[in-house]
């Protein structure tokens, strides 16, 4: 049995185990490969060795970037790519590069640079999770780093203004989402029926866009027009993050079956919960009655969000 492994990363909200794409990727991979990780949410990234997040600590070994963490897990025999052919392995690398080049700038922009989003959602959320006085300084620093990265990688001439850069990166991101959707098609995961590294990365990047409620949501709206990607995120959330069965067994298939049964029970429970919440809201004096449209499979913290987003 491998030494106990601990992952330090940012916490989650809106139904996600973490808001940080890289942390989410590592967590998803650990679930897929059955690696037993204890997850610690941090409130002081500077205390983490090297200041990088997420960081994996196993005995004396400290590893900080997602790619390296995944490599380490593979070496410890937690390999989600076991059944992939060489060509599929190559495809994985290529699609990850596509995500980083095309989707990441827009993701960073939505979270950290778009003024309304940053001020009303991102900054308060991260600040509330950091100790004082870091909460005053660090969100601003992360925002500046994100802007810097976007401008340096995307902002050369002939694009001279920030609005043009923004338009370009959102165009690229939407194209990337379309490509991913075409590649996924109707299958459950990118390479057949079992999730792999690529699924972990795609989930890590897509889930924050999909779930976090921002005032400016053009990327989320585009994503919602691609139902197979939404279904992909929801499936992973429900199968791997909501239902911890004896979930550390590498027999992914068995847990998936057991998960499916629990899923049905959960759906019923959730729809009851949602009806109750709806009644409460109707009785509440502050909010006007709202219609409930199609309910997605959502967990606790998130019921309020479909309701909030129905504003005309």
């Amino acid at each position: 049995m491998a030494a106990p492994m601990e992952l330090s990363c940012w916490g989650g909200d809106w139904g996600l185990p973490s808001l940080h794409p890289e942390s989410l990727t590592v967590m998803a991979y650990a679930k897929f490969s059955g690696a037993p990780l204890t997850v610690n949410t941090i409130n002081n990234p500077w205390r983490a060795p090297k200041g990088d997040v997420p960081v994996l600590i196993s005995e004396d070994i400290v590893i900080s970037q997602p790619a390296k963490i995944l490599n380490f897990l593979r070496k410890q025999k937690y390999n989600a790519d076991y059944e992939l052919s060489a060509k599929q392995g190559a495809d994985t690398l290529a699609y990850i590069a596509l995500l980083e080049e095309k989707l990441l700038p827009a993701l960073l922009h939505t979270f950290w640079v778009e003024a309304e989003n940053y001020c009303s959602v991102t900054k308060p959320w991260f600040a509330s999770r950091m100790t004082f006085p870091l909460s005053l300084y660090l969100p601003g620093k992360m925002s500046r780093e994100a802007l810097n990265r976007i401008l340096l990688t995307r902002g050369g001439p002939p694009i001279y203004s920030l609005t043009e850069v923004e338009a370009q990166i959102y165009r690229d991101a939407k194209e990337c989402l379309n490509l991913l959707s075409k590649r996924l098609g109707t299958s459950q995961f990118f390479f057949g029926d079992t999730p792999t590294t690529l699924d972990a990365f795609v989930f890590g990047f897509l889930a924050p866009i999909y779930k976090v409620c921002f005032p400016r949501v053009q990327l989320q709206e585009h994503l919602k027009q691609l139902p197979n990607l939404c279904r992909f995120c929801d499936d992973i959330l429900t199968c791997y993050f909501r239902l911890t069965v004896s979930g550390h067994s590498p027999a992914g298939q068995d847990t998936a079956d057991a998960n499916l049964q629990k899923l049905t029970q959960l759906v019923n429970k959730e729809s009851n919960l949602i009806e109750k919440m709806d009644d409460n809201l109707r009785k509440s004096p502050q909010h006007p009655p709202r219609k409930l449209t199609t309910l997605k499979l959502a967990a606790g913290g998130e019921e309020s969000s479909p309701l909030n987003r129905l504003s005309p």
């Binding site: 495809d91 699609y95 980083e100 080049e101 340096l152 075409k182 590649r183």
Partner: protein, 237 residues
């Protein structure tokens, strides 16, 4: 990059004339090389040039279905992400290479002190970019390992086929050829980078095949194009 795009145009059977100018970077509308000058239009960078050529009715990727096009774009990003950044890193962040090769080459068209100033400026710019994307902390070995991984992926994708998709060359083939050929033929302080590529015999065979098929008509001008290529490389990014 110049080569990628010469290869691409050759594949489309469009005749081109290679010209080198010292101020090419400034003539280009986006500040990046290469660029083409057609009639009274000027278009730069591989992406827009491909679009431009497509609009004129020549396209190499029409025979691909949607999933293959997605794959092609993904592989092109992989090449851009890994190979291009590694080339930049080697040229500008590895101190030995910078001193002995890059600075003299980059500054060669200009008199002193302009040559030193411009090379330092470029170096500072590239290092800033590396820092932003997280490559500044990488050592040379790590960069070479990344290149190796990228080549392995490309080699596995190519397999035993003549081109990456079916029997017809596409933009991806042009891009990969351009980068690999540059790596294989550029003189650097160490041969480690080209050794990494040479480890994959199907990739070297691929380069040779494209060179023979699309560039052999220019054998007579090969010395001219080689000089053009090396001059253009001195202005590379």
């Amino acid at each position: 990059a110049t080569l990628c795009f010469q290869a691409f145009l050759q594949m489309c059977n469009l005749p081109i004339q290679v010209v080198c100018r010292a101020n090419a970077e400034y003539m280009s509308p986006s500040g990046k090389l290469p660029f083409i000058h057609v009639g009274n239009q000027v278009v730069s960078e591989l992406g827009p040039i491909v679009q431009f050529v497509k609009a004129k009715g020549h396209s190499l990727s029409d025979g691909l279905d949607e999933v293959q096009k997605a794959e092609m774009k993904a592989y092109m990003e992989l090449v851009n992400n890994m190979l291009l950044t590694a080339e930049l890193y080697l040229q500008w962040c590895d101190d030995v290479t910078v001193e002995e090769i890059t600075h003299p080459r980059y500054g060669s068209p200009y008199p002193w002190p302009l040559n030193r100033i411009l090379s330092y400026q470029k170096q500072w710019e590239v290092r800033r970019k590396m820092k932003a994307i997280g490559w500044a902390g990488k050592t040379l070995e790590q960069v070479l390992e990344d290149v190796d991984q990228c080549c392995q992926a490309l080699s596995q994708r190519l397999g035993t086929q003549p081109y990456f998709f079916n029997k017809q060359p596409t933009e991806l083939d042009a891009l990969v050829f351009g980068h690999l050929f540059t790596i294989l033929t550029t003189q650097l302080t160490t041969d480690e980078l080209s050794e990494k590529v040479k480890n994959y015999s199907n990739l070297t065979a691929f380069c040779r095949r494209i060179e023979q098929q699309y560039f052999e008509g220019h054998d007579r001008d090969s010395s001219a194009t080689a000089a053009a290529r090396s001059a253009k490389r001195s202005l590379l990014r």
